[in-house]
C-alpha cells in the first residue's frame, strides 16, 4: 500500500466531514491514485455507511469506496486542525469527533488483510494516535506509519 509525504495532509481546516473527504479525495485524484469519480463516491458512501470509530484516544475514520474508482492502491492520512463529527460505523445516528482520517484507496476486494489488521492495531494504540495527531513533521509521521504498517 502506497503512502508518501504528499498523501499526509496536516492541519486540515474544515467544518464538516464532506469537506475533509473532498480535500483528501481531491489530493488522491491529483496524484493519479484514484479517478475523479472517487470523490463523489467516497462522500456518498460515508453518508450511507459511516466509518467513524471511537477509540480509547482520538477518534478516527476510515473512508473508502468501491474498487472501480481506484487506479492504484494507496492510503492517505488527514490530520484535522479541529475535529469534525463523523457518523459512528454501524450506528443509526450517533457521531464521534474525528481527529485522524485514514482514507483508503483499494483496488482489489478482500485484499490487504495484513495492512488493514495493522491499521486496526494503530487504532488500539493510544500513544501512536497521540503522536500522529500532534507531530509537526510529515516525514516522521510517514516513517512511523510505514514502520507500523509494514507488511511482509
Amino acid at each position: 500500500m502506497y503512502l508518501d509525504e504528499t498523501l499526509i495532509l496536516r492541519e486540515i481546516d474544515v467544518d464538516s466531514k464532506a469537506e475533509v473527504l473532498e480535500v483528501m479525495a481531491r489530493n488522491l485524484v491529483n496524484k493519479g491514485f484514484v479517478k475523479e469519480s472517487y470523490i463523489e463516491a467516497v462522500i456518498e458512501r460515508e453518508k450511507n455507511y459511516a466509518t467513524g470509530l471511537p477509540t480509547k484516544g482520538y477518534s478516527v475514520a476510515i473512508p473508502h469506496t468501491d474498487i472501480e474508482h481506484v487506479n492504484k492502491k494507496a492510503i492517505s492520512v488527514g490530520i484535522l486542525k479541529n475535529t469534525v463529527d463523523f457518523g459512528i460505523m454501524g450506528e443509526e445516528s450517533a457521531t464521534t469527533p474525528v481527529k485522524l482520517v485514514f482514507m483508503l484507496a483499494m483496488e482489489q476486494a478482500h485484499s490487504q488483510l495484513e495492512l488493514l489488521q495493522k491499521l486496526m492495531q494503530i487504532f488500539q494504540d493510544e500513544d501512536t494516535l497521540q503522536f500522529l495527531a500532534n507531530e509537526d513533521s510529515k516525514a516522521k509521521v510517514k516513517n512511523l506509519l510505514n514502520a507500523k504498517l509494514k507488511t511482509q
Binding site: 470509530l53 473508502h64 468501491d66 486496526m120 488500539q124
Partner: protein, 93 residues
C-alpha cells in the same frame, strides 16, 4: 450442522475482511465448524434462507430471520470480548 455466518460491511472490502479473519480464528479456537461468507450488506438478502447469523460493521435496516451482531469491536478492540461471547452464544445454539 455447519453454521453459515455472513460477514458484511458497506463495500465488502475493508472492515468485513478484518472481521472475517477474527471470526475464522474464533471458530477455530472454539471448535466451531462454520461457513463464513464475506459480502456487502446489500448482498445479505440473497442469503436470507440459508444464513444462521449476520455479523456486520454497518447499520442493518431490514429485519432478518437470523440474529444480527454489530462487529465494530473487532476494529477498535473496545468491547471485543463481549461481542465474541455474544457470537459464540449464538453459534452454540
Amino acid at each position: 450442522m455447519k453454521k453459515q455466518i455472513l460477514v458484511a460491511c458497506g463495500a465488502g472490502i475493508a472492515t468485513s475482511t478484518i472481521v472475517n479473519l477474527a471470526l475464522e480464528k474464533m471458530c477455530k479456537e472454539n471448535g466451531i465448524d462454520a461457513n463464513l461468507i464475506q459480502c456487502k450488506i446489500t448482498e445479505v438478502p440473497s442469503y436470507e434462507d440459508t444464513a444462521d447469523l449476520l455479523v456486520t460493521t454497518t447499520i442493518v435496516q431490514k429485519e432478518y430471520s437470523f440474529p444480527v451482531i454489530n462487529a465494530r469491536a473487532f476494529l477498535t478492540g473496545i468491547g471485543q470480548e463481549e461481542v465474541e461471547a455474544k457470537i459464540l452464544e449464538e453459534l452454540k445454539k
